[in-house]
Symmetry: C2
Amino acid sequence: MGDVEQDDGQVVAAQPIRRLRRAERREQILDAATRAFARAGYNATGLDDIADEAELTRAMLYRHFDSKADLYRAVLDRACVRLEEATGADDFDDSAIPALLRAAAADPDGFRLLFRHAAREPDFRELIDSITAASREVAHRNLARRIPAGPWLDWAATLIPAFTLEAVIAWLDAGQPDPDQAAARISQAVRGVMAAAHASH
Amino acid sequence: MGDVEQDDGQVVAAQPIRRLRRAERREQILDAATRAFARAGYNATGLDDIADEAELTRAMLYRHFDSKADLYRAVLDRACVRLEEATGADDFDDSAIPALLRAAAADPDGFRLLFRHAAREPDFRELIDSITAASREVAHRNLARRIPAGPWLDWAATLIPAFTLEAVIAWLDAGQPDPDQAAARISQAVRGVMAAAHASH
DNA sequence: TCCCTTGTAGAAGGCAAAGTGTACATGTAG
DNA sequence: CTACATGTACACTTTGCCTTCTACAAGGGA
């Protein structure tokens, strides 16, 4: 029976127990964990929070993942894979920003989790560092055609990818208005930052 | 005696025990804690890490601070106060960015700690939120003269302060080259972002 | 119908790190 | 001189939370 005896002794009809196949349940847990972790990051999120979010018991989490860290890695990995699928090889051409917006809109919790939390967590940031390092490389190559080598080139190559991510997250926070306009505005803003970076002051 | 018997039985001259008055020692602990926390944030930094950094024992930390959280708050408070002193009322006029650069250069660990770590830590972000909220307010007011109310105004008002901080931190990471040029470049970049935000697309 | 898998509920274990206590050493103010 | 605040050293307790274990319930395919 799915019935439940409450504190006051009343017996009420509870939700019939939903049974899913392993793969489905796993995905559902990953979805819930992504939402839960996205709120406060790894440390501040207890397994109970995740279990509640997934409407499951803590025990079930351990039937699908070896540990909290394992679950977190699975969450981050999935978010990374989705991001890479959505953005392609990330060549930083004009199609990159619309692709990034699509990816963020398709999985906003995962996106925020990756760049707002995981990027600052010592035990996990390596996963994200590979992405940001690659972006910096690409930006560095592209900017090197206009900006002479030196600290300002390094500065711009670090700043522009970081700025782009901030702009995308701010767009999510603003309610995802008009993706096409967003892409145009962010692209223009990036050009503005580039201009400032290679101006002679 | 400041001498110390080592594992191998040898007795060597140790550092003479440095005794400081309470206020001095407190400041020294805050300095060390700022450095230690700045590396990895609150959770990933143990009291032993801080004690090592300060060249003291854990017990001493408790003579100056009630708890780890108390110490962290003291560190953040001091960083906030220094920041506010260095930037003045933060009116976001043209003097704001040079002031921000001065503040960051004067206390780079504190600056990074505030905006890279504390801003994402649920138990402590309230301290930083007041700063970022105020910046957003100011930006919102200034931008409202050019950008019609709506999601794009909100987007720009969130993004521009965040971008400015990213730019300052990237400048720290690049080795703090030429503060005057940095201010000019960041100001120009901000104008570029503003232009993109209020363009009609 | 039978039985395996998925599921609940909750107690108990274990471990890392915070927090406390005690004993003792020593520079410095009074 | 001497008393106290500052300091070391280190063992101990507490706590929070991950992790494991046990006992039982129930859906659903063979």
